[in-house]
Symmetry: C2
Subunit: 319 residues, 2 copies
């Protein structure tokens, strides 16, 4: 289960950029389907980091169901062209790189329904938090002259919507890529260059299976735990007794219910396995505490500290 | 179990200060036993907020087992007088307000062993994360002419020691006071004035029993969960897949093993009850996921979001 690679962008930046000139990114048209916090942050990060460069000729095209954020994106100078969902088929043929920033199954449906409209030679990529569902349906998604790159920008927040998107959203975060046999090397390289350009500091490359297993742990299990902790609170004024721990553990419990219901159930088997392994550890702690077994408890906690230190951090420990 | 009061200092500041002049705090000698992150932060916060005022005549006296931080505290202008542990009996008779910043049972032992050396009329207070153990042994701790105020500054961090202490450590945090029948009103008021002066923004007043029950939830249960989550990670490079959730949930897993072993076991019954109620919630989520019961899962998660929103925050949500 542990086959994956990751590398810090800072270390490999030169190698990365050697083959590509920034102009390749500067001259592309970027399409964004779904202008929420993720889609909006992509648009803003592209505007700030790529299309504000001297000599940039690319455009940002955005599509969204509701129009309020479309107008806002234009007035903020983020979007060049906007489309409501019913007009997306006019937008798609113009996009060199297309980001589908929808919920997982909506992304899958979108890819199937609209594949004939994609620009020939385009890169199409997603942001979904589960990946197995895509690999299974690849034959229905793929077109010979369009490259579908399975990706996952590992950034999120309890605040949703375009209003909370920002260009700096991805800074110091991880991006996961699940390379497929059919992906063209030059497209993957362009994608890596793009990812580095908008602030991510690490790219992790792995399979969809390992992605779902690891994300089932770092993301989905954590959301289950945070939610279960809130649900087990008897007292809405409990933060009067908070020192930071409860707040840290439950930040992500300001949860988007439909999205996470979909993520949890789409990754059911791996997530349930993680929950069960977590339950065993909780039981181990409970037993040591109930038995007043100081020696065992101290030994476990020392191990915990060592393990956590060894894991490093993307941002929290050193902030 | 829910009998407690809390109030935001901002709202009551005028009432608080009406009866007291800042000079009362400015003219006191503060003693700190144990110069770790908590003791050090008290010393620095007192120096910054109280004893840097014009006309202040009070001193900061500190005692610690090892001498390195004592020298540092003097060279930084934080401590006026320093004492190694074997000379603490020379320090105690000089202290108007004495903070015992040791582990819970060490605090208890200190109070019993040294009570004859406290200054007559002094306020002695502790920072321990469990309170029941003190109430049980009050007869052995108390002296008629010394007021022991049971307190708990709700601030902490994964970084330990004087080197990580800072004057701003307590800003925007909660302080819990467990008033006892024998406490003098003027001493409690002085303590509240002191707490407000060094940056805390909320004081929660309750019994030791409720303190231990609530802290068993917001603090100890959270540390058990964070530790169990780290222990259930198979992979030391898991943060390559982190988007922030895992890091948030395990910040506190950089745990001080001897301290938390003591806290967990000292509050065994209440903590085990909290763990069991949390386990039931985890099981509820697991069942809904395993059964692909989208409707139930969505309903629970919507409830979770509402509950968490209603709880408010001391700092995390709005940061």
């Amino acid at each position: 289960m542990d086959k994956f690679d990751f590398w810090d962008i800072e270390q490999v930046n030169f190698t990365l950029t050697e083959g590509f000139e920034m102009k390749s990114l500067k001259s592309l048209n970027y399409g964004i389907v779904g202008l929420g916090i993720m889609g909006g942050s992509f648009a803003k990060a592209i505007r700030l980091n790529i299309l504000s460069q001297n000599g940039s000729t690319g455009k940002i095209l955005v599509c969204n169901r509701s129009t309020a954020c479309l107008s806002q994106a234009v007035s903020e100078g983020i979007a060049d062209e906007t489309y409501t969902s019913d007009r997306v088929q006019e937008m798609l043929p113009k996009c060199d790189v297309l980001f589908i920033c929808l919920y997982p199954h909506a992304t899958l449906d979108f890819l199937k329904t609209n594949k004939e409209f994609f620009k020939s030679g385009a890169i199409v990529t997603d942001i979904s938090g589960v990946k197995g569902i895509f690999e299974k349906e690849l034959p229905e998604i793929l077109r010979n002259d369009v490259d579908f790159i399975i990706g996952h920008p590992m950034a999120g927040g309890e605040k949703e919507g375009y209003a909370n998107s920002k260009a700096e959203f991805f800074v110091n975060h991880n991006y996961i890529l699940c390379e497929q046999k059919f992906n063209k090397k030059e497209n993957l390289d362009l994608m890596r260059e793009f990812i580095a350009s908008i602030g991510f500091t690490r790219i992790t490359e792995t399979t969809t299976d390992i992605h779902d297993y690891k994300i089932g742990f770092t993301s989905q299990l954590c959301h289950v735990i945070a939610s279960a902790l809130v649900e087990s609170a008897e007292d809405p004024e409990i933060t009067a007794f908070g020192g930071g721990s409860f707040e840290d553990l439950t930040r992500i419990a300001l949860i988007n219910a439909p999205l996470w219901t979909e993520l949890f159930i789409s990754n059911k088997e791996k997530l349930v396995a993680h929950i069960e392994s977590f339950e065993k550890q909780i039981e181990r702690f409970k037993t040591a505490i109930a038995n007043e077994d100081s020696e065992s408890l101290k030994a476990i906690l020392e191990d915990t500290r060592e393990k956590r230190l060894a894991m490093g951090s993307i941002r929290t420990i050193n902030k």
